[in-house]
């Protein structure tokens, strides 16, 4: 039981770290504001959700008590609110940029 929970939480955290990593690569490599927002918004949201889920599971591995369960519930509440608020903030920032007239990146003529 304990081993299963540990392995499961480790897998969740590693997958979450992978999504954070891809979001960072996207931030560095993508050409303009909108594509970077796209990378940061999606990658960070899913990465944070998976990381926090892994932490909530790991918190239970020492023993299933009421206190540990409540802490896990609080961690999952944080994950839930990040899952709602992060895409909304991304949308608001991107819409503000669009209204302010930031031009989207397009492929230059004659370049592959």
């Amino acid at each position: 039981m304990t081993t299963t929970l540990s392995i499961l939480s480790a897998v969740l955290m590693i997958v979450g770290a992978f999504f954070f990593f891809t979001a960072s690569i996207g931030m560095l490599r993508f050409p303009d504001f909108y594509t970077r927002m796209h990378a940061a918004g999606k990658g960070d949201t899913l990465g944070a959700f998976l990381m926090l889920s892994g932490m909530a599971l790991y918190n239970l591995h020492a023993g299933f008590t009421l206190v540990a369960f409540l802490v896990s519930v609080k961690i999952m509440l944080i994950a839930f609110f990040i899952f709602i608020a992060n895409p909304t903030a991304c949308h608001a920032i991107t819409k503000a940029a669009l209204d302010a007239g930031v031009a989207p990146w397009t492929m230059k003529e004659g370049k592959k």
């Binding site: 609110f81 608020a85 949308h91």
Partner: protein, 152 residues
């Protein structure tokens, strides 16, 4: 500066999140003794929920619910709670804000009276900080005009 926003996504999510922000603010105020937080931090979160509504909707919309007069009165009420608890301690013969002496008028022991006194102070600080945060944002965002928020 802050124009009427008609973005349905931002408005819906802010409407959905506001009760949870208020609940978290009360949690931070009430858990000030045991965990990071307290009156100032909780008051800031309370003010942030109003500021979120002002950004997502319109300043006039929020001012219908939290009027300027109400805001000013709340600023004073918070300070009154803080100073009032301190002066009750003075009247009971102890130092200013020496909560232990509150046990004489409350049906609890000295330790519990100290906890309750601190909690009362935190509530006063929270109310004042919330009102001042809202008022600062109102003055900055509307350029001191307090009308709709649009000064263009």
């Amino acid at each position: 500066m802050i124009k009427q926003c008609d973005n349905v996504i931002v408005q819906s999510v802010s409407r959905f999140l506001t009760p949870f922000i208020l609940l978290f603010a009360l949690y931070v105020i009430a858990h000030g003794h045991y965990s990071p937080g307290g009156g100032f931090q909780g008051g800031c979160i309370l003010g942030a929920s109003f500021i979120l509504s002002m950004i997502a909707y319109d300043i006039a919309e929020v001012k219908r619910r939290m009027t300027e007069k109400m805001n000013t009165v709340l600023t004073g009420v918070g300070v009154l709670i803080y100073a009032g608890i301190g002066f009750i301690c003075l009247l009971l013969g102890a130092n200013y804000l020496d909560y232990g002496v509150l046990a004489e008028i409350l049906p609890v022991g000295t330790a519990k009276a100290r906890a309750l006194g601190t909690f009362g102070i935190e509530i006063g600080v929270g109310i004042t900080v919330m009102a001042v945060m809202v008022s600062i944002f109102l003055n900055l965002a509307s350029g001191g005009e307090h009308e709709e928020g649009s000064v263009e």
